[in-house]
């Protein structure tokens, strides 16, 4: 008898297991299936910095959360509706995030006394395992719908014909779980089958075992009486176009490739591996056919050094890192400021200070990007708002770098880097084209011998509009010149210790960066009623949670406006006017108030911070409460959000 199919508008699923259990792959496959199915989605991978933390322990738990919906959503969701837990530690580590009534699918196989002890359980929390059945109501799982299944045992049984060792057979359990959850939510299976065929093409027994486990999981869902119904989440309406699911790091790498194509420049990436930025290096190393050279340097400083050298030689120089790497590159960024060479510096921010939280997200490098150099060393700063937006932000960073002959800081973060969302694939003709406008001949007439004027090349003679200096690459006859870290004389570019010249050059470098603002479009103010008195200003990856919180406040019937900043330096020309048009300005950030500080300093506005540094995205529901309080204060009304549907429900 076919099972009942229930309609849902959205669901949040979290896959959790040991860091060797393949949870990231499982989550990624479920995401791809959902993307191909046409749902809107947002993901949140969350994993330890250790590659294989001690097995079965709480620090070793790795998880992947995916939020899928039949409508436009902005966040990976505050709390999962479904938890798949592959061992006791995964259950214990994630239980606190679940709302009452959530479904939990547990692989019972690893609920041995030893593993329970490692996870800190005195006795099994699973219903039916309790020594005292009467105490079941006190079970930590009493408030949830718990499905206890021996996923590992069923996997081993399903793959026994392939002759694998018991250990190898058990490793396919993540695919069994994926098959089961795929059945529950009516996901297409072809993409995963095709993926497994390709991934394990060279080891047929492993390939066949994974496909068999995946199929067995699906079939188990269909036949077992443990699940009475499956669920359907219809495709989300989206703007016409061709889509793919994309992570921030992949989109950023593609943006760099696109910048090379659109500028006609070869790309040179100098980089040193660092979490969570390494995937950009990995990706760009595959695109040599686009003229991309990747140089894995001996350290962070050599990475940017190579990029600066390549930029001097006429390439689009790029360096990618995270916060600790930026600290090491600071002096070199200053050199690029002084020599006025185009350079894209990517900082995929992670929790700090020092080594901090390598695999967790944070936005605490804004002030480092802004000020983390000796001297007056202004650098334009661009920040993407979502994983897909990393593509456009990378192109924008390259546009500014090349047009203004300056290093540009591109501030992504761990959440954007590893999180994913559906991305409408752009037409190439929609992308900006970037003109490197190399210098080809002399630009100045100097007094020569006698009364003759001689054509010469002045490397610091500037474009009147952008204040950019000429980019003359080695190999161009007649333009031989020397640049360097010492202060340059205005125009001719020779070493100058003249006090007035230094004052002029410091101000000119600042003015050049400030001129970038003249090339920016007006900010988009999201204030549909026009009656809002509270403005929420964000930057970077808080875009999703801020948007979701604002929707919730509006659904409850209140007014609030939003502006999201892509350019942090210089600020857009119209920002000051916008800020003063509202009674209260709220700045949510995953730091202790860095944008707040910049806005206060620049505009004398009483920016109010909402600051969370937990290594995870801001929770939309918490932010909605804060916005509600500000609306109440600004408008003198009582704000009650409890009647509103939750933040990511369908409008």
């Amino acid at each position: 008898m076919p099972k009942q199919v229930q309609q849902l508008d959205r669901v949040i699923i979290r896959f959790a297991g040991d860091s060797g259990d393949g949870m990231q792959l499982t989550g990624d496959r479920f995401t791809q299936e959902s993307a191909v199915f046409g749902n809107d989605l947002v993901t949140l991978p969350n994993f330890p910095a250790e590659i294989r933390a001690p097995q079965g322990t709480l620090p070793g738990v790795s998880s992947f959360q995916v939020h899928i919906a039949d409508h436009d959503i902005l966040t990976p969701g505050d709390a999962p509706d479904v938890l798949v837990a592959m061992n006791p530690a995964a259950l214990k580590a994630n239980l606190g995030d679940l709302p009452k009534g959530a479904a939990i699918i547990v692989d019972t196989h690893d609920f041995t006394p030893r593993n329970l002890q490692k996870a800190g359980y005195a006795e099994s929390p699973l219903p039916g395992d309790s020594a005292d059945p009467a105490g079941a109501a006190d079970s930590p799982l009493a408030d949830y719908q718990v499905h206890t299944l021996d996923l590992t045992g069923m996997t081993v049984e399903a793959v026994k014909e392939f002759g694998l060792s018991r250990k190898d057979a058990a490793r396919a359990k993540n695919m069994f779980a994926l098959g089961l959850v795929s059945w529950m939510y009516g996901r297409p299976t072809e993409p995963t089958t095709a993926f497994l065929e390709k991934r394990f093409a060279k080891v047929p027994p492993i390939r066949d075992a994974n496909i068999a486990a995946f199929t067995a999981g699906w079939n188990f869902g269909e036949t077992t009486e443990a699940f009475v119904s499956s669920y359907e989440i219809k495709p989300a309406p989206m703007a016409p176009g061709t889509y793919r699911n994309i992570t921030g790091n992949l989109a950023l790498a593609y943006g760099i490739v696109a910048a090379g194509v659109r500028s006609g420049l070869p790309v040179f990436l100098g980089s040193y591996p660092i979490t969570p930025a390494s995937d950009i290096l990995h990706e760009l190393s595959k695109h040599k056919a686009f003229g991309v050279t990747t140089f894995q340097a001996e350290d962070e400083i050599a990475g940017i050094g190579g990029a600066i050298g390549a930029a001097f030689a006429g390439s689009l120089g790029v360096t990618t890192t995270s916060g600790p790497g930026i600290a090491l590159k600071s002096e070199s960024i200053g050199l690029a400021v002084m020599t006025e060479l185009p350079l894209v510096v990517v900082d995929v921010q992670r929790g700090g200070p020092s080594t901090g939280l390598p695999t967790k997200t944070e936005q605490a490098d804004l002030l480092q990007a802004m000020y983390g150099r000796n001297g007056e060393a202004p650098v334009p700063i661009v920040a993407p708002a979502s994983p897909g937006d990393c593509f456009d932000a990378a192109l924008e960073a390259a546009r500014i770098a090349i047009t203004y002959r300056t290093p540009v800081m591109l501030l992504s973060d761990g959440y954007l880097a590893n999180g994913s969302e559906p991305w409408r694939i752009p037409e190439i003709s929609e992308l900006p084209s970037i003109d490197p406008a190399f210098a080809t001949g002399p630009n100045h007439a100097s007094a020569g011998a006698g009364s003759d004027e001689q054509d010469s090349f002045w490397p610091y003679l500037r474009d009147e509009q952008t204040l950019a200096r000429p980019w003359a690459v080695p190999g161009t006859p007649g333009l031989e010149h020397r640049i360097g870290g010492l202060e340059k004389g205005d125009g001719h570019g020779n070493i100058s210790y003249d006090p007035a010249n230094h004052d002029l050059m410091v101000r000119t470098r600042a003015a050049k960066v400030a001129r970038v603002a003249d090339s920016l479009p007006p900010l988009e103010i999201d204030d549909p009623s026009g009656q809002a008195r509270v403005l929420v200003v964000g930057w970077g990856s808080t875009y999703g949670p801020i948007g979701a919180a604002i929707r919730q406040v509006r659904k409850a019937g209140y007014h609030v406006a939003q502006v999201h900043l892509r350019h942090l330096n210089p600020f857009p020309n119209d920002l000051g006017e916008i800020l003063t048009a509202y009674d209260k300005v709220l700045v949510p950030e995953m730091n202790l108030g860095q944008l707040s500080q910049l806005l206060r300093a620049r505009y004398l506005v009483d920016a109010i911070g909402f600051n969370v540094v937990r290594g995870l995205p801001i929770k939309a529901a918490e932010l909605a409460e804060v916005i509600g309080q500000l609306v109440a204060a600004a408008e003198g009304v009582i704000v009650d959000l409890s009647t509103a549907p939750d933040e990511e429900a369908r409008s």
């Binding site: 061709t242 889509y243 340097a297 190999g475 020779n494």
Partner: protein, 371 residues
């Protein structure tokens, strides 16, 4: 883990010289053309003047287009060098010149790339970049001006200063053991390692010629006198009465002998109780046939290293001078460019336009279309 065969296609497979891919000039050149209009500002008597003159005199002999020559330096007295040459140049930051030069050399096969650095710049703050450039074998020539002192910061001991040296920062003597730059370079598996002296223009020029002709990283240590903070550090190598006993000349294919009457020579010290390296002996005692013949092309750097150990670590009374090692190994930049060039070759017919290939890249993988 797997390793890939780097089998190089086309001209990358052929060994060629350090400047074979750099465009040449049709017109004759002279030293004046290579002198910039900037006033040279080293202290009177500085050894850097002699090196600058030698380089300005030698570059025209290469016959390259001047615009295809790039000099990169770090920080220190010697690092002002690029300002005085009318080529492309960058005076960068402390210790980082080899990394910047690596980017330039990798991006552009048509440039002759030179690094000018000092003992503090290359061996202290920039030590990491130096050894990695040497092991990678990037096609560039590194001129390491070794004056065994910090000059620009006014006289602190450097990583090549002798132990016990009294300087501003070591009033009762340095307790640091110094680097021997040649030993260090050989240990990093450099493919070209040489040592010369600022005051011997002929030798300096001949070593620079060989270094420029070498494809790969050439390290040339130049003993350079600092008249202000370490005057006379190399006097024994320069004095008419002392130099014959102080300089051990290395000439490929010739027995290694020195002294006023070439009465001293090198032999392997392999007898029981010996060092296993090389030692100086009277030729008369050892016999001419026992004297070590210098082989700079020996693929094994062991003997070159042993010879480098004959350099005094303390006050310099004896030092081998010349080309220690000159061997061929594929360069990093040639290999990196070959991988890019191979990837850019279409599998069949003409390569599609970059825009079309970009569209194909962005649209690859699992996609879906919303109408």
């Amino acid at each position: 883990m797997t390793t890939a065969d780097l089998g190089l296609p086309g001209h990358f497979a052929e060994s060629h010289g350090g400047i074979d891919l750099v465009p040449t000039s049709d017109a004759p050149q002279n030293a004046k053309e290579y002198s910039s209009d900037q006033e040279v500002r080293w202290c009177p008597g500085c050894g850097d003047y002699a090196v600058l003159k030698a380089v300005q005199g030698f570059l025209p002999d290469l016959g390259l287009r001047r615009e295809n020559i790039v000099f990169i330096s770090g920080i220190g007295c010697s690092s002002r060098f690029p300002y005085y040459l009318d080529t492309y140049g960058m005076h960068s930051i402390h210790g980082r010149a080899p990394s910047i030069a690596t980017g330039i050399a990798t991006a552009r096969p048509d440039l002759s790339v030179w690094v000018v650095t000092g003992d503090g710049d290359a061996l202290s703050i920039g030590g990491n970049h130096l050894i990695h450039a040497l092991r990678r074998n990037v096609n560039m020539t590194i001129l390491l001006f070794n004056n065994r002192i910090y000059g620009l910061t006014k006289g602190q001991y450097s990583p090549t200063s002798e132990a016990g040296k009294v300087t501003k920062s070591t009033p009762v003597g340095s307790v640091d053991h110094p680097f021997n730059p040649v030993s260090l370079a050989l240990g990093a598996e450099a493919t070209f390692v040489a040592r010369t002296v600022d005051s011997d223009r002929k030798h300096l020029t001949s070593v620079l010629s060989a270094a420029a002709a070498h494809r790969g990283t050439s390290l040339v240590e130049i003993y350079q006198n600092c008249p202000i903070f370490n005057d006379g550090a190399f006097d024994d190598l320069k004095g008419p009465d002392t130099k014959a006993d102080a300089i051990i000349p290395l000439i490929h294919g010739e027995p290694i002998r020195f002294g006023k009457d070439r009465e001293k020579g090198l032999v392997r010290d392999t007898a029981p109780g010996g060092t296993g390296g090389v030692k100086v002996v009277p030729v008369a005692e050892a016999g001419e046939e026992a004297i070590l013949v210098h082989d700079a092309h020996n693929p094994d750097p062991t003997t070159a290293f042993a010879i480098s150990r004959l350099t005094d670590a303390g006050v310099l009374h004896q030092s081998p001078i010349g080309i220690f090692r000159q061997v061929e190994r594929p360069t990093y930049d040639d290999l990196a460019r070959a991988q890019v060039a191979t990837a850019q070759q279409p599998t069949e017919g003409d390569a599609p336009a970059p825009e079309d290939r970009l569209a194909a890249l962005l649209g690859a993988g699992d996609t879906w279309t919303v109408l």
